[in-house]
Subunit: 448 residues, 2 copies
C-alpha cells in the first residue's frame, strides 16, 4: 500500500479535498443541498474505487450512501460505516483558513471534516481501491455512509431496519475515533452513549429594566445558573435522581488493565493549558472519560450578549446540556430522568421547559474477537508496537443501534489524534495518520 | 398649556419623530455618526423653542448638547438634564414595528427612545417653548443633554467639572423615570447606584469535543454557573464580602412611609406573568427595588448557541453582571469588592477575568425642598391627586455626580409607566403622559 499511496498521493488529495469543500453541516437547514451533493460525490468515489454498485438513498432526514463489491457470497463481509456530515464551524473567527477550503500546512490537512469523518472514511475508500486494483481483495465489502452522525443519526436506525438484508455483514468497521497518541496506537473497544437536551427557563413575560425590577423578581439567568450548579455535587457526582442506577462498576482487574494505557497528566494539562483537572472523585482522568458518565453544558445564552453594557433583566435563559453515558445506561431512560429531575427542581417563580435533542447508547466490543485480533496485527505492523485497547469517551450512538439491529459487532480503528481538534476551529488531520490508516486498513483485510 | 398642545400637536409629533428616527445607540460603535446627528437636531429644536444659544460640545466620548435662555441673572435657574442616547434594540425580532420608525398605535408612540429619554426630554423643550412664547418665563433655563447615559455617562462628569460656571443653577430638573402607575403620580426622591462588570471564565485553551474530554476537565460554563450561583444565598443576600458594609438600614418610620405607596402584588405578578416574586428575605417588593441593593446577570453566553446540537466542551464562558446600589454604597468600592470576591472564588482549574463596565452612586433628595414642593403642586393640579414620594430602583449615576460637582440637588419628575417597557422591545410612551408631562413641567415653572 505504501508504494500505491506514493504513486497516487496527488490524486488522493484532490479527491479528499473535493469532499471537504462541500459544507455538509447536518445541523443547519441551509446546508440541505450540500448534503445531497456530498452524498453524490461519495457515490462517484466509491464507483471509481471499484464498487459494483453505489447509490444515494433517501431517508426521513439526510440521505444515506450505500455501495458494495460482492466478491463471493461465501467470503466474510466487512461493512464499513462512516459519516459525511460535519459539525458547524462557529466560532468562525478563530479559524486560520477557510474551514471549507482545505489547506495543507505543517504536514496536516486543515478543514472542517479533515478528520471527522471525511478524512477517516476516505482512508477506507482508498484501502478498498488498493485491494481491488491489486487483486488482493478476499472479502465482500459494503459501505454505509450517513449524513446525520453529528445530529445523533435520527434516521439511520429506521433505514437500517428496512435494509437489514442489504447490510448483512460479519463486522462493522469504523474509523471515527482517536488513538491515544501519535506514538501509542490504540483500538477503541467501547464508547459512551449520549443524552442531549435543551432547557429553557422563563421568568417575566418580557425583558425588563434591571433597575426597576432587579431584586424584586427572579432573574431567569440566575435561576438557570442555580439549577445547573445543582446538577453536579462537590464530589463530581451527577445529582439527577436514578442517574447511576444502571451503571456497571468495573472490577479492580478491569480498571488495572485500562490503567496500562500511557497517560501523562502534565502533558495533558499542558496541551489544554489548564492548571488542574477536575472530575468525579475516586477515578483517574482516563476512567472519567472511559468508564464513567458525565454531564456538560455545551452552550448557554440569555440576556444581552452584545458589545458594551445593557441593564436588562431578561425574560428567558437557555442552555444545551449533554450527558455522556456508559454501557448499560439507556439513553432514553436518562433523558427521561433528567427531564423529570430538572422540572422537579424548578422553583415556583420561573417556568422551565426541557426539549430532548438526540441520544444513543454506549457499547463494548469483545477484544478476543477475530476482527479485533486482525486489527491489532495490522496496527502493530504499521506502528511497530502493539495497540492498546482503550475506551472512548465520545459517542457514536448509531453504532450501538446497528449492533442491535444487524446483530454484528463494530470495530473501531480510529486514527485521529487529540491535536486534530475536531468539532473546534482549525480541525486538521495529519497526513502521516491518513496514510498510516490506509495501510492499516489494507492490512486488516489481509489478516481478517 | 393644554390649549397650546392642542394647537401644536402635529408639529410636536413631527419634531419628536425626527429625534426618534435617529438610531442614537450609544453602546454601538457603528452609530457614532448618529450621535452627532441627534445632538445637532437637538440644538435646532432648542433654538426654535426660544433658547438664546445652543451648541454641540465635544467630549472624550459622545457629544453633549448645551443650550440656555438667560432671562435675568437675579432669577432662579433651572438646569434641565436629559439624554438623547438609547439602548440597543435586540432582540429585534420581537418588535412589532421598526424601532427607529415611530408609530402611533392605541394612544402611544412606539419607538426606541419614545420614553427613555427622547420622549421625556422633549416634554421639557416644549414646556420651555410654551413659557417663552406666552411670555410667562420667570426663570433662567439651561439644558444639558448627554449622549452617554445608557453606557454610564463616562464623559459627562469630567466635562461638567470643566464647565461648572456655565452649568451653575439652583435645581437639576430631570424626567427620566416612571410614575407608580397611570393613576398614582409619584416623584422620585432617590435612585439606586450601579456597578456593572463583565466576567470571563476560561477553561481549556480551545473548544474541545465533549465526548473526549467530558468528565475529566472543568467545563467553564458549568464553573461560571457555580460561581454565579454562589453570589446570592438562599435568603437572597449577596455573598460578596463587605457588600453590605455601607448600606444604611432605614428606620421603621421611614419604611412605613414608603409602604404607603399603593402596590398590588397580584397585579404586579399578573403584569409580568409570574407565579411568585423572589427577593431578599425580610423586605417587601417595593423595598427590594427601592431601598435594597441587588445583583443580576444581564447577559450570559458560552459554547454552541446555534440551532440544533453540538457536542462541544467550550474554552470560555462569559457573563455581564450588574449590582444596583443604595445610597452610601460607593460604586467604585463595590466594583472592587466584587472583583476581589469573584477572583477569590475562582477554582484552580479555570482562569477568571473581571472587567468593569460602568457604574455610579445612588442618591436621595430632600422632600422638604422648594423644588419638590413646586413639583408636588404641579402634579397635583395635572392629575387631581397628590403625588407619592417614591424611591426608584433604576440608576442615573450621573445625577449623583452632578449633584456632587455642581452642588445642586436633582429633582426627578418622571412620567414613564411600567407598560412602556423601556430597554425592551416595543418601547412606547403614552400620548396622555407626554402631554400631562408638558403641562406639569410648565406648572412647575409657575410654582417654583
Amino acid at each position: 500500500m505504501k508504494q500505491y499511496i506514493e504513486t497516487n498521493k496527488e490524486r488522493f488529495f484532490e479527491e479528499l479535498f473535493s469532499l471537504l469543500r462541500i459544507p455538509s453541516v447536518s445541523s443547519l437547514e441551509k446546508h440541505k443541498p450540500d448534503m445531497q451533493k456530498c452524498a453524490e460525490r461519495l457515490v462517484e468515489l466509491l464507483m471509481e474505487a471499484g464498487a459494483d454498485e453505489a447509490a444515494v438513498y433517501p431517508t426521513t432526514g439526510h440521505p444515506v450512501v450505500f455501495g458494495q463489491k460482492m466478491v463471493d457470497p461465501s467470503l466474510p463481509t466487512v461493512l464499513v460505516y462512516g459519516h459525511y456530515d460535519v459539525q458547524p464551524v462557529d466560532p468562525i473567527e478563530l479559524w486560520h483558513s477557510d474551514p471549507f477550503e482545505p489547506e495543507i500546512r505543517d504536514g496536516a490537512i486543515y478543514a472542517r471534516g479533515a478528520n471527522d469523518d471525511k478524512g477517516q472514511l476516505f482512508m477506507h475508500i482508498k484501502a478498498f481501491e488498493f485491494m481491488v486494483r491489486e487483486g488482493g481483495l478476499k472479502h465482500n465489502v459494503k459501505f454505509i455512509l450517513e449524513g446525520e452522525e453529528e445530529i445523533g443519526s435520527p434516521s439511520l436506525a429506521a433505514w437500517a431496519k428496512d435494509h437489514k438484508e442489504m447490510l448483512a455483514a460479519d463486522i462493522i468497521l469504523v474509523s471515527d475515533t482517536t488513538m491515544i497518541s501519535e506514538s501509542v496506537p490504540s483500538i477503541n473497544c467501547g464508547m459512551r452513549g449520549l443524552s442531549y437536551v435543551e432547557v429553557k427557563v422563563t421568568g417575566p413575560n418580557k425583558d425588563l429594566h434591571s433597575g426597576h425590577y432587579g431584586g424584586a423578581i427572579a432573574n431567569p439567568i440566575n435561576v438557570l445558573c442555580d439549577m445547573i450548579s445543582s446538577l453536579i455535587d462537590k464530589d463530581g457526582h451527577i445529582t439527577v435522581k436514578g442517574f447511576y442506577d444502571d451503571v456497571v462498576e468495573l472490577s479492580a482487574e478491569d480498571r488495572a488493565k485500562l490503567s496500562r494505557a500511557p497517560f501523562d497528566i502534565e502533558e495533558y494539562k499542558g496541551f489544554l493549558d489548564i492548571k488542574e483537572v477536575k472530575g468525579e472523585a475516586g477515578y483517574s482522568s482516563l476512567e472519567r472519560t472511559g468508564i464513567r458518565p458525565c454531564l456538560d453544558v455545551n452552550g448557554i445564552w440569555g440576556g444581552y450578549i452584545g458589545e458594551g453594557a445593557k441593564t436588562v433583566l431578561p425574560s428567558v435563559a437557555h442552555a444545551k446540556i449533554s450527558m455522556r453515558l456508559v454501557p448499560n445506561q439507556d439513553s432514553a431512560t436518562i433523558t427521561k430522568l433528567f427531564t423529570e429531575h430538572f422540572l422537579s427542581i424548578a422553583p415556583d417563580y420561573v417556568k422551565v421547559e426541557v426539549t430532548p435533542h438526540h441520544g444513543g447508547d454506549g457499547f463494548l466490543i469483545p477484544i478476543s474477537s477475530p476482527a479485533y485480533k486482525a486489527a491489532e496485527k495490522a496496527m502493530t505492523e504499521v506502528y511497530g508496537i502493539e495497540p492498546v485497547p482503550s475506551r472512548g469517551g465520545g459517542s457514536i450512538p448509531i453504532l450501538a443501534d446497528l449492533q442491535r439491529i444487524l446483530g454484528i459487532d463494530p470495530l473501531l480503528m480510529g486514527f485521529g489524534l487529540e491535536r486534530d481538534t475536531i468539532h473546534s476551529p482549525n480541525e486538521s488531520y495529519l497526513l502521516k495518520q491518513l496514510f498510516a490508516g490506509m495501510e492499516a486498513i489494507a492490512l486488516f483485510y489481509r489478516y481478517y
